[in-house]
Amino acid sequence: MMLHKRFLGILVGLVAVATAFGQGAFSFKINEVVVSNTNGLVDEYGERSGWIEVANTSWGTNNIRSCYLTTDRRALDKGLSVPERVKMMSLIPKGDPRTNLPAQQRIVFFADGQTNLGTLHTNFTLKEGEENFIALFDGNGKTLLDSVTVPPLAENQSYARLYDAETEEYVWRALNAEEVTPGAPNMGQGKVEDKVAEWKEKDPYGIAMSVIAMGVVFVALIALYVFFRLFGYVVVVLSKMTRVRAIRAIHDQASKAAVMAKQGMDTKGVDMKVYMAVIGMALHDYEEDVHDVESNVLTYHTDEHSEWNAKGYTMREWPE
């Protein structure tokens, strides 16, 4: 019962963990920021302001509703309660289908301090010519999903998260106005299209692909081969041992039955000749004091419970 409860606890824990990760909030990354926007993206009202682009980096649809954006570093203070922290943040409202981001898509929030203008507007603004800290928090107001410190930028410059093909990592870099891409992949993020082009350029005859892919196919099937070769060997050995044991058991039973048929039921199947020989040998060992000295010690062996191996028969009685 205790075991069942523990198992149930583990199961519930696993489900909870799976659910937490299943929400995919950690897939959201701050992707590009413009602090001073004088000549770029306009909002639904034709106004320009600094903006923050958030990307869904996963390959599934995730909703960013109920998450928080903030520029206040104090929100990182774990000593503060959730309501205190939330006061320093800008809530991304529910009920707007635009917050439901398909795989690898982006959403732009206008940092104009006017949340009354709609879902895509924050309650804070970005400070021009200064360093800006920006953080994205999960809906619980506690879990930091992503943060970035934007250095002072020139007008219409952006600070963008870029894929560095050499290090194969994402790095932040300031981009000039003509390179700014609100709502679209930043430079180097269109890796998917590049994959085919890279293979075409580097492997025009398909030799590398064939060698690698055939190698992988062989490795996978050789791994299976090795496992089932060894496993099959173990199974064969075990089945042989089981068969030998069964044959021995049958043989023992047959011997006992033969002895009982010949010498009566009282013998319980123990051949009197063997019985006498073993007693004689034991007496001989005892008399000659050769037990444990001679290498060729004769031992009567049986797998069955009998007088010969029963513990009770080997113990001395308590003195009267």
Binding site: V192, K195, V196, W199, K200, D203, P204, Y205, G206, I207, M209, S210, I212, A213, M214, V216, V217, F218, V219, A220, L221, I222, A223, L224, Y225, F227, F228, R229, F231, G232, V235, V236, S239
Partner: protein
């Protein structure tokens, strides 16, 4: 008189909607192709389960109509056929077919003689041989991969991969893959005879040992873990294959295994065959690319069969006389289950009426299914 004018106008209008008014030469050609497939299936008994749905699908997909938003065509949003086609387009029919294959397949021959796995691996050379030739013919790497997978002789895998990598060629690739699978009895025997000596064809293999139920249960679990850890991109196919097999071998879910292997599989095969056939509309299908794909598909099949047979011959160099493998089972490394294994059996019996190779050939045959799914996973991982 006005009523007659009205009737006349409407009748003339109706006539513009008929197939006769909208038919082009391409439609008639494709209808003839569909009829030929039906003839092969019904008269010649060439894989009727595949060719009848595909053949009728070709005819259905080439019935001409006036494109005025009637929502009846395969490629028209909200049409019934378009709804059925979503399983092909989005690649969810193939994993369901794999579920059925897993639930119907007995991996005993492979478990008893695991070295046959290597024959299944070797036959995948067909895929990559065709990949190189397709690149040389000017196809893009993603298109070449979609075409080359025909060499795996595995229709569902071909559809799955082409739907992901080269959706514009998927109709041609799918029809080509299934056509050649149906033509296995025509393509493989001459090659097998060409590449083997009479002495080799007479090799008798020892009967496989009996496989315990525990081994049968462990196989899908270990198989799933080992293959998908190496190639996670093959997860949809391999996962469903081994899941289906576990349903069968666990002996506790017989009802589910039966459904997966019969009713569910039959339903999916019907819809898959029909919609794949439908996707061959003349305007999409009658192109030079289709001809190239059929040529490449044939080459892929030839290379796969040859590499399976030659690999067994090579393997035999290292095996003791008592454990030699009959190279006639090498062709079964392509994953056309169980057609390729049946070819081995028939050819073996042709040369020795007591040499039953079917169970031995099933080993490389099911290994080929795993091998082609792994190969598809690798291609998908690199090119998607």
């Amino acid at each position: 008189m006005e009523i007659f004018d009205f009737i006349g106008t409407k009748l003339a209008d109706f006539l513009t909607y008929t197939g006769f008014a909208n038919a082009e030469v391409g439609n008639w050609v494709m209808i003839l192709v569909g009829a030929f497939f039906l003839w092969l299936a019904i008269k010649k008994d060439f894989e009727p389960l595949l060719l009848i749905p595909i053949g009728l699908g070709i005819i259905l997909g080439n019935i001409p109509f006036k494109a005025v938003g009637l929502e009846i065509g395969l490629y028209e949003d909200n049409s019934v056929l378009n709804f059925f086609y979503s399983g092909v387009k989005n690649g969810w029919y193939p994993p369901l077919v794999f579920l059925g294959i897993g639930a119907m397949t007995d991996f005993s021959a492979l478990i008893a003689n695991p070295k046959l796995l290597l024959v299944g691996a070797a036959a995948q050379f067909g895929i990559f041989g065709a990949y190189m030739i397709a690149l040389a013919m000017g196809f893009e790497p993603n298109q070449a991969a979609g075409i080359a997978i025909i060499g795996g002789a595995d229709g569902p895998t071909a559809i799955f991969l082409s739907s992901k990598l080269s959706p514009n060629l998927m109709g041609a690739i799918a029809v080509c893959a299934y056509s050649y699978m149906a033509l296995v009895p025509v393509i493989q025997p001459p090659l097998m005879r060409l590449l083997t000596t009479k002495k080799e064809r007479l090799i008798r293999m020892k009967p496989a040992r009996e496989v315990s139920q525990t081994e049968k249960i462990i196989f899908p679990i270990v198989g799933l873990l080992m293959t998908t850890f190496i190639v996670p991109s093959g997860l949809p196919l391999l996962g469903m294959l081994f899941f289906g097999n576990l349903l069968k071998e666990s002996t506790k879910t017989t009802r589910l295994a039966k459904t997966a292997g019969s009713a569910l599989n039959d339903t999916i095969v019907m819809l898959l065959g029909l919609t794949v056939g439908c996707s061959t509309q003349a305007s999409e299908f009658l192109t030079w690319d289709t001809i190239k794909i059929f040529m490449l598909g044939a080459l892929a099949f030839i290379i796969a069969t040859a590499s399976g047979v030659l690999f067994v011959k090579f393997f035999n160099l290292f095996l003791p006389k008592s454990k030699k493998i009959n190279p006639l089972i090498g062709n079964a490394g392509v994953s056309a289950v169980p057609m390729a294994a049946r070819i081995s059996q028939n050819l073996g019996l042709e040369y020795d009426s007591k040499n039953y190779l079917l169970m031995h050939a099933m080993g490389p045959n099911v290994a080929g299914v795993i091998g082609s799914a792994v190969a598809a996973g690798v291609l998908l991982g690199f090119l998607s």
